[in-house]
């Protein structure tokens, strides 16, 4: 079926090329039929890339090692579930996933606006097909997933064990959905600029897509953080790693965009800014896609240096130059309709929020690309570490949370002092109570953390007050009960109250980040069974070593050396934890005829032992010291050299027995960290808010308003 897959890719490229031409010709000549043919090219691209993706997935699921990508990224010992995800662990497969998602979202948006935006849509579909052509071109000429060999190897090299985690199923597709969704508002912005139709129409048509992009990218980022925390043996969730940063950049500028478009919709201001923001965001999304795969920056996510540098840099360069030219030549059309009336207004708070978010993005961008910048300036590659990032991101994050509390309350155009007093009295009191409480309980050892807690209380009470007042207003109109009024408030103003929910979630998340970084206790200790160590008021005892072997399909997938731990606080047992380290034997030494020889030579992964709680996580990870086993391994290897599989298996079992009985010291990392759960909880609230805002408004509400207004408007018409 590789021929069919390859044919799909070539056809995709042809369809994209035709579609770009048809769309542009149709728009210039005013030929609707050609524009429709261009739109159908997008649908055809979706069809073809779906077919190609299915062909590749079938090859992975059936372990067809004729395909080179399958042989190098999967194996028969790779669990069935992960073979599915192994497809996008390869560069070729991830590019195919990209174009598939892009074609799906593009088809959806073009279908939705098929009877609208007749001027903008043809150019937008040309831009979307342009992205399609770029990725289809890469797949055809540079990185085809359908390369085959005549004689298939009997076994593949397998999915890297580090990637065998349920998150692998969701984390990359979420990030890629986010990246590809940004292409939609990007394309419509380009279209709107080309035809100089820069009212809020293109924003309204694609706002939901921008929101969805923000949503998926956010879910992807948070899943990555969670993955890192629960799976990698270092106990952190964010490390300012270039690839993490690359996904954060479009998320930051995209968040700014989602806020500032409200100013354009309401007041016709900030048009240049909005167009620039979405153009930047789209470019950053492509940059993020590229960085993940490029290896130009040192990262833990180095997927091997890519050969795609030149095409990607060309694309990014073209996007930047094209955007600049469009914005500059259209600056007359982008002239603002109003000016800022007062610094004390909703508009200026939105502007402040945008400046902070773009500032954050700039800091992250600068720090991420600093190795390249410093090499260009001084000739030596130099890097900045997390402390440098924290120095700027902490104050900016504090400002952001503050603004997210002010924004929902303050009036448009010009706020009066009575408006300010009415809106902020109780939230300020709440923040002050939190500060006084923390200081009197002696928790105020970290200034930034205390400020964050106070600001969190401020935002939470602002939103609570908003909901109560909104529900009050609703009750006055409809006479419903309080709860019903609050529910219908959310239902009728999904975007607004979804947004407020996001603010609540972000505050909760930031409280978790502040507490878990400021008040974390971490220790690295070496213990033998029976010993204990203290960390943050807890006593952790190494009870006994454990071992495990996992066989799959008659082959040893991995062995695990672990530890049973007992956690006590004040003499009372709090938890029993188990942490282990899995070793995936290196397949190569099998050739030398001894399984036990290669047992520690392959990849290793950590399994964290954790007691998570709403207030505090106790986190443990073990690093056994296989060096103690070297002598035994030598002996066993000599005895079982070239012997049949059953004997090899017995040698492994013997080795594990030996490890369990000898009381070898192991290295442990023990962490107690407060409020980490709030980060995940806050994330869930954020995404609930995002879903509320994304959900379409109910028809009923629209109908009633239409009825009421129609009467009124008809009356006006009659008079005129």
């Amino acid at each position: 079926m590789a021929t069919v897959g390859q044919a799909c890719l070539i056809l995709s490229l042809a369809v994209c090329a035709f579609g770009i031409g048809a769309s542009i010709y149709g728009a210039r000549a005013g030929r609707r039929d050609w524009v429709a043919a261009g739109r159908r090219s997008v649908y055809a691209l979706a069809l073809l890339s779906t077919a190609a993706f299915v062909v590749l997935e079938v090859a992975f699921l059936t372990s067809d090692f004729h395909y080179q990508v399958v042989a190098t990224h999967s194996s028969t010992t790779t669990p069935f579930f992960y073979r599915f995800a192994a497809a996008w662990s390869s560069q070729e497969g991830s590019l195919l996933l990209w174009i598939w998602l892009l074609s799906m979202w593009s088809s959806l948006v073009l279908f939705l606006v098929r009877r609208r935006m007749r001027d903008v849509a043809p150019y937008a579909q040309a831009v979307l097909l342009g992205f399609g052509a770029f990725f289809a071109g890469l797949l055809v000429f540079a990185a085809s997933p359908f390369g085959v060999v005549a004689v298939a190897p009997t076994e593949g090299t397998g999915l890297n064990p580090l990637l065998r985690h349920p998150s692998m199923m969701i984390h990359p597709p979420m990030l890629y959905s986010g990246y590809t969704l940004w292409a939609v508002p990007f394309a419509f912005a380009i279209g709107a600029l080309i035809v100089r139709r820069v009212d809020a129409e293109w924003i309204r048509a694609t706002r939901r897509f921008a929101l969805a992009a923000w949503f998926f990218l956010g879910v992807g980022i948070l899943l990555g953080a969670r993955w890192s925390y629960s799976e990698l043996g270092w106990g952190g969730y964010w490390a300012w790693d270039p690839v993490e940063n690359a996904s954060l950049l479009p998320w930051l500028t995209g968040t700014a965009f989602l806020h500032s478009i409200m100013v354009q919709e309401k007041r016709g201001m900030l048009k240049v800014w909005n167009a620039s923001l979405i153009l930047i965001t789209g470019t950053l999304a492509i940059l993020g896609t590229f960085l993940v795969r490029s290896g130009i920056l040192d990262s833990i996510h180095a997927f091997g240096a890519s050969t795609l540098g030149v095409p990607f840099v060309t694309l990014i360069g073209a996007m930047i130059v094209g955007s600049l030219v469009l914005v500059v030549t259209r600056r007359e059309a982008l002239r603002t309709e109003h000016h800022l009336d007062s610094l004390l207004s909703r508009e200026s708070v939105f502007l402040g929020n945008n400046i902070v978010l773009v500032g954050l993005a700039f800091v992250v961008f600068w720090g991420t690309f600093f190795p390249l910048i410093s090499e260009a300036v001084t000739g030596t590659k130099a890097a900045v570490g997390p402390p440098w990032f924290d120095q700027y991101t902490v104050p900016l994050a504090l400002m952001l949370v503050l603004l997210s509390g002010i924004g929902p309350v303050i009036a448009w155009r010009r706020a009066t002092w009575s408006n300010v007093r009415r809106g902020f009295l109780w939230p300020v009191v709440a923040a002050a109570v939190v500060v006084v409480g923390l200081v009197s309980f002696g928790v105020a050892t970290n200034g930034a953390a205390v400020i964050m807690f106070a600001l969190g209380a401020f935002v939470l009470s602002v939103v609570a007050q908003e909901i109560v007042r909104g529900a009050g207003a609703r009750r006055a109109m409809s006479g419903d009960g309080s709860l019903r009024a609050a529910a219908s408030l959310f239902q009728r103003n999904r975007r607004r109250y979804g947004g407020y929910t996001v603010h609540v979630g972000m505050s909760v998340l930031f409280i978790g980040v502040a507490a878990s970084t400021a008040f974390q206790n971490a220790r690295d200790v070496r213990m033998v069974p029976g010993q204990s160590a203290k960390v943050g008021g807890y006593v952790v005892k190494y009870v006994k070593p454990t071992t495990r072997e996992v066989w799959r399909g008659g082959r040893l997938e991995r062995i695990a050396l672990g530890a049973d731990l007992e956690v006590r606080k004040g003499g009372k047992r709090v938890a029993r934890l188990h942490t282990e380290r899995g070793y995936y034997p290196n397949p190569a030494p099998f050739a030398t005829g001894s399984l036990v020889r290669g047992i520690f030579e392959g990849e290793a992964t950590s399994e964290v032992g954790m007691k998570a709680g709403l207030l505090r996580d106790v986190w443990t990870a073990v690093q056994p010291d296989p060096d103690n086993l070297n002598k035994v391994i030598d002996g066993l290897a000599a005895r079982t050299q070239g012997k049949p599989a059953a004997e090899q298996g017995r040698a492994v079992a013997g080795l594990l027995d030996f490890y369990r009985q000898g009381a070898f010291p192991s290295q442990f990392r023990l962490i107690t960290s407060p409020l980490v759960a709030w980060i995940w909880l806050g994330g869930l609230i954020v995404f609930a808010g995002g879903l509320i805002a994304l959900w379409p408004a109910p028809d009923g509400a629209r109908g009633r308003v239409r009825g009421r207004l129609a009467a009124r408007v008809a009356q006006d018409l009659g008079r005129a």
Partner: protein
């Protein structure tokens, strides 16, 4: 004051503030950064005591020794044999092992280079080396 002048002044103030902040950003990034060096670069002319460097290279086969709460290993040039000793305390990433490419922030302390806590990063190879093809027993 007429609104046009007021806006102009606001713009100038905002731009000045932004420029100052950007200047601070640029300055601190150059001041706080650590040069990325290879072991031979570290030995040649750099490696002033007290300065921190971002050492990149490969772990020398068989050089990893664990003892107490810290571990020692040697890091060699990516393509070469020149190596320097490193002492390190902190988390060891899962993919860390002989021959792997690592990045670590170090400062010179006498004859060895002390790694800063938790700065050890091991590049995670996207796949096992597929050059050695893999016949299996049984």
């Amino acid at each position: 004051m007429d609104p046009f002048r007021k806006r102009r002044i606001r713009l100038v103030v905002a731009l000045t503030a932004a420029l100052l902040l950007a200047g601070a950003l640029v300055y601190t990034s150059f001041a706080a950064s650590s040069d990325a060096v290879s072991p031979s670069g570290l030995l040649k002319d750099k490696g002033a005591p007290g300065r921190s460097y971002q050492l990149t290279g490969k772990v020398v086969n068989g050089s990893v020794q664990r003892g107490g709460n810290s571990m020692t290993f040697r890091v060699r040039d990516r393509n070469g044999a020149t190596s320097v000793p490193v002492r390190y305390t902190g988390t060891v990433p899962d993919p860390f092992r002989d021959g792997r490419e690592v990045i670590i922030t170090v400062r010179r302390q006498g004859a060895v280079y002390a790694g800063e806590r938790d700065t050890l990063v091991t590049k995670c190879p996207s796949k096992f080396s597929d050059k050695q093809s893999t016949p299996t027993p049984s």
